[in-house]
């Protein structure tokens, strides 16, 4: 069994409530931080831990915290990004609905470290049923003196609020999230200035993912070095992986970073192998935005070693033969899956979710979806594949926020690794129509 830091007490009955959570060592990090540590010491501990942002980008959290501007007399805010909308990712939902207090505890400890006056949990609208869970947890924390004025007699004042979004993917982008939190249209801001200088209501703000905030709890309890000892190299600690697709045991798994991808897919502790004894075809390793990889490339790195579940190993080989850990949305496809159909679904999603602010993303995402739809309908041409490639290259890197990149990468990687499948779709559309929903595309491609 791998080490568990966030979900260690997941099996304890009643862990959702304050009493049980507290009896199992809950809120110790708050006590330790506010009573025995200075805010800077907490930041230092997080830096030592090597914790990296769990929302997708993997930016070192301690460093992000140290960038926070601290002008006199200006409020600072901590915002938790619970707008978990990446297709294939559902780890925050699991964590918040099962152990809400770990997020509340993390928000208090992190808020103390940053000298924040208030914390906000921005949760996506579709998670409405979690709102009441979180609000109850916050109420209990207030009642027990962990929130509000003069927390545990330390003189630290801190309020925590839950804000419900309206269900837009773009509001998971941190500046769009801040706009939305301010009550405006959720459009990403043009950076600079970064939120660390001018964020929520123009005040210095830190935005962190749910899992990142929760990971602060074990870091303060056991020390940054103990956390850094878990995991591998610069990928310290544990990571929640949302496994879905053609596997025997889909679900949320807490893994110690550094286990092999092969182990993760095939061992009984995790995914338990491919469903119905089929063969592995492809994996989207970190949520819909990251490049898709075929079986051989996801299992081994370009140098022939086994690929590991870590930031570095998954990115090994760049985009030519690597991918990203992203937010940990691990989508497995077996040999019957169609990459083109899957890509169309992703493209439709990005088209629907583009905010429309900047032109490459606004127009390009819709164009890609239309072309993919055309190919799936059997009217595609070889030029359409080239055109798709062209469009994604014109979107990538030219947009205000990363949504453009997120829309472009799946298209680029699908064409890069599965071009023959696209060609099959445009050359023999009639064959594919017959088999599309119940047979293997690969068999046709190889035949």
């Amino acid at each position: 069994m791998g080490k568990k830091l966030l979900l260690a007490n997941d099996h304890v009955p009643g862990i959702k409530g304050f009493e049980v959570y507290r009896a199992n060592g809950g809120y110790k990090s708050v006590e330790k931080a506010v009573k025995t540590m200075s805010p800077d010491a907490v930041v230092e501990e997080v830096k030592k831990s090597g914790l990296r942002g769990r929302g997708g980008a993997g930016f070192p959290t301690g460093m992000k915290w140290s960038f926070l501007a601290k002008p006199e007399g200006v409020a600072r805010y901590l915002v938790c990004n619970a707008d978990e909308s990446e297709p294939g990712t559902f780890k925050d939902r699991y964590l918040m609905s099962r152990i809400p207090h770990i997020l509340v505890e993390g928000m208090i400890t992190s808020g103390f470290a940053l000298g924040a006056t208030a914390g906000y949990i921005y949760i996506r609208g579709e998670y409405f049923y979690i709102v009441s869970i979180l609000e109850k947890a916050i109420e209990e924390a207030y009642a027990n003196g962990f929130l509000g004025k003069n927390i545990l007699g330390s003189g630290f004042n801190y309020d925590l609020y839950v804000h419900v979004g309206a269900g837009a993917y773009i509001c998971g982008e941190e500046t769009a999230l801040l706009e939305s939190l301010e009550g405006k249209r959720g459009n990403p801001r043009i950076k600079p200035p970064f939120p660390a200088i001018a964020g929520l209501y123009g005040c210095p703000t830190v935005v962190n993912n749910v899992e990142t905030i929760a990971a602060v709890v074990p870091i303060i309890n056991d020390g940054g070095e103990a956390y850094a000892a878990v995991g591998i190299g610069k990928s310290a600690g544990t990571k929640l992986i949302s496994a879905s697709g053609h596997i025997n045991k889909p679900g949320v798994y807490e893994i110690e970073m550094g286990i092999t991808v092969e182990d993760f897919i095939y061992s009984d502790e995790y995914c338990g192998g491919i469903k119905n004894g089929k063969k592995l075809k492809a994996v989207v390793a970190g949520g819909s935005s990251v490049p898709i990889l075929p079986a051989d490339k996801i299992l081994t790195t370009p140098s022939g070693e086994k690929r590991l579940m870590s930031y570095e190993s998954l990115a090994d080989g760049g985009f030519a033969s690597g991918t990203m850990l992203g937010s940990g949305g691990f989508i497995v496809m077996d040999e019957t899956a169609s990459v083109v159909e899957n890509l169309h679904t992703f493209a439709r999603f990005y088209h629907h979710e583009s905010c429309g602010q900047c032109s490459p993303c606004r127009e390009g995402t819709g164009w890609m979806e239309k072309i993919l739809h055309k190919i799936l309908d059997g009217h595609g041409t070889v030029e359409d594949i080239e055109l798709l490639w062209e469009i994604q290259s014109k979107i990538e890197g030219n947009t205000i926020c990363p949504l453009g990149d997120a829309a472009a990468w799946p298209v680029a990687s699908a064409i890069r690794h599965f071009r023959s499948e696209f060609e099959e779709y445009v050359k023999n559309p009639n064959n594919l129509k017959k088999v599309r929903h119940y047979d293997s595309v690969n068999q046709l491609v190889s035949a």
Binding site: A168, I170, R185, I190, H351, H352, E353, S354, C355, G356, Q357, C358, S359, P360, R362, E363, G364, T365, G366, W367, K370, L387, E390, I391, S393, K394, I395, G397, N398, T399, I400
Partner: protein, 327 residues
């Protein structure tokens, strides 16, 4: 002060200047094209991505190049920065892409569009785009919306530059229009089919780079290249009163704010000047308006204002002859 080199040309500018402003100071040869940026509107720019440039050297202190192309209108210069605009193949490629995206759902109905001849998108497509379209999908269309008796909104042509939104925010008391919906369904609209009615509402027409917002008092009266812009002013208690009058013959067909060499309004004017003062006697004429020699409007230059007797056929282009004799 910061020293910045753009396409090999160096200039020293004040700190806090954007790359675009610095490039404009050097001159039109190195200035990136813009669609959404407007020098008189704060926080404008950054949306259209036509002004993307490549920063090959970040600054003297930190010479690393920037990893992505940056929007020059929203990026400040650093001392020692080196920027590639037309000399960067990456920029040329990206810009071509942006033009293609902007034109993807644009109707290309220039022959019946009032903006033709002074349309920034037309110029952009001509200078930076490719000759062929690569899409045969149906274009996105919208119903025309009337924003009162003076302003016509035709969303189908809009490129969502947000300039009209910024105008309403920054120079009028109350903004009643904005962007509704998301992605490529986004549209500029009032809520719901409201009228934009205030003293400065007409400026949304001037800042619109395409034919999405047009002047109802001028629509379909004349092509702009048949009209002659003249600088004029009057004492106005609401605005500066400095305008361009657009003449066809003796008649003032429309009044607009004066635009600088980048096609951006110099001083915003009030609706009284714009819509109600359409007689020469309302104005004091300052002289012909400067027109870029590349503009189609210059094809109909002031030489035709000469008296018929001083008129030499060989001096003027065919277009002007018709017009000159007609007036």
């Amino acid at each position: 002060m910061a020293k910045v080199t753009i396409d090999g040309k160096t200039i020293e500018v004040a700190d806090g200047t954007t790359i675009l402003q610095a490039a404009r100071m050097i001159g039109p040869d190195v200035a990136p094209p813009t669609m959404c940026y407007h020098s008189k509107l704060k926080t404008s720019g950054g949306y259209c991505r036509t002004c993307l440039v490549e920063v090959t050297k970040g600054s003297e202190k930190d010479p690393r190049p920037m990893p992505k192309l940056v929007a020059s209108c929203r990026t400040n210069v650093m001392d020692g920065m080196e920027v590639g605009n037309l000399t960067s193949p990456k920029v040329i490629e990206a810009r071509k892409g942006v033009v293609e995206f902007l034109l993807l759902n644009h109707p290309l109905d220039c022959p019946i569009c009032d903006q033709a001849g002074e349309c920034h998108l037309q110029d952009l497509g001509y200078e930076h785009g490719s000759a062929k379209t690569r899409t045969d999908f149906e274009r996105r269309t919208f119903e025309k919306i009337s924003l009162g008796d003076k302003i016509q909104l035709h969303m189908t042509r809009c490129i969502l530059c947000y300039r009209c939104v910024k105008v309403a925010d920054q120079i009028t008391d109350n903004r009643v229009h904005g962007v509704l919906n998301r992605g490529d369904h986004s549209e500029i609209s009032t809520y719901i089919e409201n009228v934009i009615d205030n003293d400065f509402s007409g400026n949304v027409i001037d800042v619109c780079p395409v034919g999405a917002l047009t002047d109802k008092t001028f629509r379909f009266k004349s092509r702009v290249w048949f009209t002659k812009p003249v600088c004029a002013h009057r004492n106005c208690d609401k605005c500066s009163g400095k305008v361009h009058l657009w003449y066809k013959g003796e008649e003032v067909l429309r009044v607009t704010g004066r635009k600088d060499q980048w096609g951006e309004v110099e001083e915003f004017i009030c609706n009284t000047c714009r819509f109600d003062k359409k007689k020469t006697s309302d104005w004091e004429i300052d002289g012909p308006a400067p027109v870029n020699r590349h503009s189609v409007i210059s094809a109909n230059h002031y030489q035709v204002l000469k008296k018929g007797s001083e008129f030499k056929l060989n001096d003027v282009k065919p277009l002007s002859i018709t017009e000159g004799e007609g007036s």
